[in-house]
């Protein structure tokens, strides 16, 4: 049991000395992204090989460093040497990698970068990595484009520790912020610090966290509750999952501090059932924290009690909305209610409840440990600190990216992301999930922060960034998001339930060439009313994908409706396949591959496509070696 900051410091020293490296250590990235890339096989092969050779080496599973496109990632830490990250490691690499590590050398084939300094909350927690002549050929972290300019605060421990070990978390300075907050600060001082830091909600709304805590503390009624919203659901966004899988204790620590500040003794983590690994890691972390007395009664001998429970969501997107989440937590239908009385005053079971997102809770220890002013020194005027973005879509480096707020979209997408793949043009960037919007390429130099994205008609949201190239049809994109929202609308209020369906009908018709001149006006009318009259955030923002694409890509809508063409050549019903007689050699490859026998012709003479039979599958286009298939 740890009952004082001194005991925590002692415990930390013990954990660190236990970890002080006497033998090499390999950390395999085994979050969901790593596992999907085959990390489990590599991990097993490493252990098997090590056992076979009877060598003394630690092989542990760690979380995700964010470079998902380079998985499986392995970090090698050798006593007296710098830390080296290896990327794209396969089972075949295992014997050679092990040879190199055991010899204290570098396995050059897969070496990605070397670590020079780590971002830690407590400075004395890591020996600086020694200079190593062997490593001259390996670039430093910051010299790798994907990591250049990144600042890992929320992801401070991701990929550096074994997420199932509280000892490793404590060894890296974990729970020191909780100790400091509970034993040396009053709840009011903590709230003041959070306010000064400028921390804003990372889940989508961007509400100032300190103000939320203050309202909850001042609200009448007991008991009070703190809740962690881990119902991450935006298509393409997965930073919360990664944090929970890679560093669960950071969220627990933030919640302990928050519970003390607002005066709550019970907390809930609402996490989606589709994140089984995150649930497992959280459950394990809670048990460990309870064993050490960091959760439970009389934490740090301050008289503060705090217990945490996990609730699993059954997969409704709308349950990410605070009131729907609380209804679901109470065991009722997960649908929102009007928030004329805020949840900080009347939330869970009608009691004052403070709900924050995973990344927000995770940032709290950083603010306490490093200080509010230090935190406020990062970012822009209105948006402080860093934000984790999930960079996905038509971009070369797909992964989680954590940068100071205010970095330009260009630096994120072209610098860190490496731009769109060779030969393609950047067309738009979709931010903020289904409720966000599409920003055209000409705004690439806009900074990424709450205000700038809103002024462009989009939003920060939970940090999803989907990059789109010139082969993306913006009407089709709007249709995709509306289909998602229509499926996820809870169905309680009329504008959202009926409106999303009607919008989807219209967008589908436009994509299928049945668009009519009046459709745009109906879309705009629906958008206005949905945003003004819907009950919750899902409905009020549901029209954003349509509004932003209409604003920036009106000509594409016009092409679909007036000319019955899809400029990006995506909407299948609007495409026409034909064979260029002069280019066709009559090889018949297309006729062979056509699944509906719509292509005919004499051998060695030009073929023709029967348009009435053509199902526009595009296989002839793919197979033709003479560019004789024309798509219009």
């Amino acid at each position: 049991m740890i009952t004082s900051p001194e005991q925590l410091a002692e415990y930390r020293a013990k954990c660190r000395s236990a970890q002080t490296l006497l033998r090499p250590r390999l950390l395999v990235g085994m979050a969901t992204c790593g596992l999907a890339s085959g990390a489990a096989k590599v991990f097993a092969a490493l252990r098997e090989e090590a056992a076979l050779r009877g060598v003394d080496i630690d092989i542990v599973a760690t979380g995700c460093k964010g470079a998902c496109f380079l998985e499986p990632l392995i970090d090698a830490v050798i006593p007296g040497k710098a830390r080296v990250t290896y990327a794209g490691v396969t089972v075949e690499d295992v014997p050679d990698l092990l040879d190199a590590v055991l010899a204290g050398a570098v396995y050059a084939k897969r070496a990605l970068a070397r670590e020079t300094a780590e971002c830690l909350l407590i400075e004395d927690c890591a020996e600086p990595y020694p200079a190593d002549a062997n490593l001259e050929g390996v670039p430093a972290y910051d010299a790798v484009p994907f990591f250049h300019g990144q600042l890992h605060l929320a992801m401070r421990n991701c990929g550096y520790l074994d997420p199932t070990s509280i000892d490793e978390y404590i060894a890296r300075g974990g729970y020191a912020a909780a100790a400091r907050a509970l034993t040396t600060m009053t709840p009011e001082q903590i709230i003041e610090a959070i306010k000064t830091s400028g921390l804003r909600g990372r889940g989508g709304g961007g509400f100032p966290t300190g103000r939320k805590w203050e309202s909850c503390r001042k609200a009448h009624g007991t008991p009070k509750y703190v809740v962690c919203n881990a119902d991450e659901g935006d298509p393409g966004a997965y930073m919360d999952r990664s944090i929970l899988e890679s560093d669960p204790h950071s969220v627990l620590e933030g919640m302990i501090i928050g519970s003390f500040a607002v005066g709550a003794n019970q907390g809930f983590i609402y996490v989606r059932e589709e994140y089984p690994l995150a649930v497992e890691r959280l459950r394990h972390a809670i048990t460990q924290a309870e064993e050490l007395g960091l959760l439970g009664t009389n934490i740090f001998d301050t008289g503060h009690d705090f217990t945490l429970r996990i609730n699993r969501g059954a997969g409704a997107f709308v349950c990410g909305e605070s009131t729907a989440l609380m209804a679901s937590l109470e065991g009722r239908v997960g649908e929102p209610r009007a928030k004329y009385i805020h949840t900080v005053e009347s939330g869970l079971w009608g009691k004052p409840s403070c709900l924050n997102n995973v990344e927000t809770w995770n940032n709290v220890p950083v603010v306490i440990q490093r200080g509010a002013e230090w935190f406020a020194g990062i970012g822009t005027e209105g948006s402080k600190g860093t934000k984790v973005f999930s960079l996905v879509g038509k971009v070369r480096h797909v992964g989680l990216v954590e940068v100071p707020m205010g970095m330009t979209l260009r630096a994120v997408i072209e610098g860190i992301g490496g731009g769109v793949p060779e030969g393609r043009q950047l067309k738009a960037i979709q931010t903020g999930g289904p409720s966000g919007g599409c920003i055209p390429a000409e705004y690439l130099d806009s900074p990424v922060d709450f205000e700038s994205l809103s002024s462009l008609g989009s939003m920060m949201g939970s940090g999803g960034v989907i990059v789109m190239d010139d082969r993306t049809c913006m009407v089709d994109v709007a249709r995709y998001f509306l289909a998602f929202l229509k499926d996820e609308s809870c169905g309680k209020c009329v504008p959202c339930r009926e409106g999303t369906g009607r919008m989807l009908d219209i967008l589908t018709a436009i994509c299928e060439g049945r668009g009519e001149p009046g459709d745009i006006e109906i879309l705009r009318d629906l958008a206005t009313v949905m945003s003004e009259a819907s009950l919750c955030g899902l409905g009020t923002s549901a029209a954003n994908p349509v509004l932003t694409t209409l604003q920036y890509f009106a000509d594409e809508y016009q092409a679909h409706i007036a000319d019955h063409t899809c400029p990006a050549k995506v909407c299948r019903a609007l495409l026409r396949y034909s064979i260029l007689t002069e280019a066709c050699t009559g090889c018949a490859a297309c006729a062979k591959v056509c699944p509906v026998n719509a292509i005919s012709g004499e051998r060695k003479s030009p073929h023709v496509i029967d348009e009435t039979a053509c199902i526009k599958c595009g296989q002839c286009y793919e197979i033709c070696r003479f560019s004789a298939i024309e798509v219009a």
Partner: protein
């Protein structure tokens, strides 16, 4: 602080008039009291407010800012300036009604409201994704009356969004349903109905039938067994009057009273 937490009367402006709300009173309630018309579909004074139909939206002004709120739920703050009808509100109600009319073209209550807002024919094309000409607009009144007034909670929802429907558990004969018909009575769109046949009350849309009881005096079926059992629990009525139909109850009451007087004469 909101009038809800202070427990005091709140003075605010409604359509340019200074008015006072009782502690915790909603804008809709104040408006109805003062004969100010606000259309509603999912509101009924016997049950809690739900805020789903969005027809009762009104506009609240605070200085230069304003917001649309559902008057059935919004409890005014002191100095709120509230308008119950203007161009913005009219536009919203009109489109909400257009959406409702497209969903439920056969419901007279909707058609009438729609006409009030000059909506005759919805502009939408036949839908591939939204419910097809259903009478139910998912106003939740049946769910609330069953839970809050009857105390049975036999009705709930299945599905989500456009797939959402009113149902009893698993859509099968519901033990919780007592066949009282409160849901049928409260439904503003006649989406629910029942029929008494062969000694059973068939709750048609709820796929449930409940045995009926014959009046001890006239022999006519007048209520269900479960309904009477519930009555026995909830009200203090001489036991021998419960299984008598309302029409016979008056004469039966006199008879029972007389008998009592005869058997226990006053001294």
């Amino acid at each position: 602080m909101s009038g809800t937490t202070t427990g005091e009367k709140v003075t605010f402006t409604l359509n340019g008039r200074q008015v006072t709300a009782e502690p915790g009173e909603t804008v809709l309630s104040v408006a109805r009291r003062l004969d100010v018309h606000i259309p509603t579909l999912c509101f009924h004074e016997s049950v809690s407010s739900y805020g789903a139909c969005r027809l009762c939206l009104v506009e609240v002004f605070w200085g230069k800012r304003s917001k649309l709120v559902t008057s059935c739920l919004y409890i005014p703050y002191p100095d709120d300036r509230i308008e119950t009808d203007n161009a913005r509100i009219h536009g919203v109600r009109k489109l909400v009604l257009e959406l409702l009319l497209a969903r439920s073209p056969h419901v007279e209550a909707i058609r009438e409201l729609a006409r009030e807002y000059c909506v005759e024919v919805p502009r939408f094309r036949p839908s591939a994704v939204t419910a097809d000409a259903t009478r139910c607009v998912l106003c939740d009144l049946c769910v609330r009356v069953c839970a809050e007034v009857v105390g049975q909670s036999a009705i709930g929802y299945a599905g989500r969004g456009s797939e959402r429907v009113i149902t009893v558990p698993f859509g099968e004969q519901a033990e919780e349903c007592i066949g009282c018909g409160a849901c049928v009575f409260i439904c503003p769109t006649q989406a629910l109905s029942y029929e008494d046949i062969a000694g059973q009350r068939l709750m048609k849309e709820l796929n449930t039938s409940v045995p009926l009881v014959a009046c001890r005096v006239c022999g006519e079926h007048f209520a269900t067994e479960k309904q009477l059992a519930k009555l026995r629990e909830r009200i203090t009525m001489p036991d021998e009057l419960v299984d008598v139909c309302p029409r016979c109850r008056g004469t039966e009451f006199t008879r029972v009273l007389d008998e009592a007087l005869v058997t226990k004469p006053r001294v």
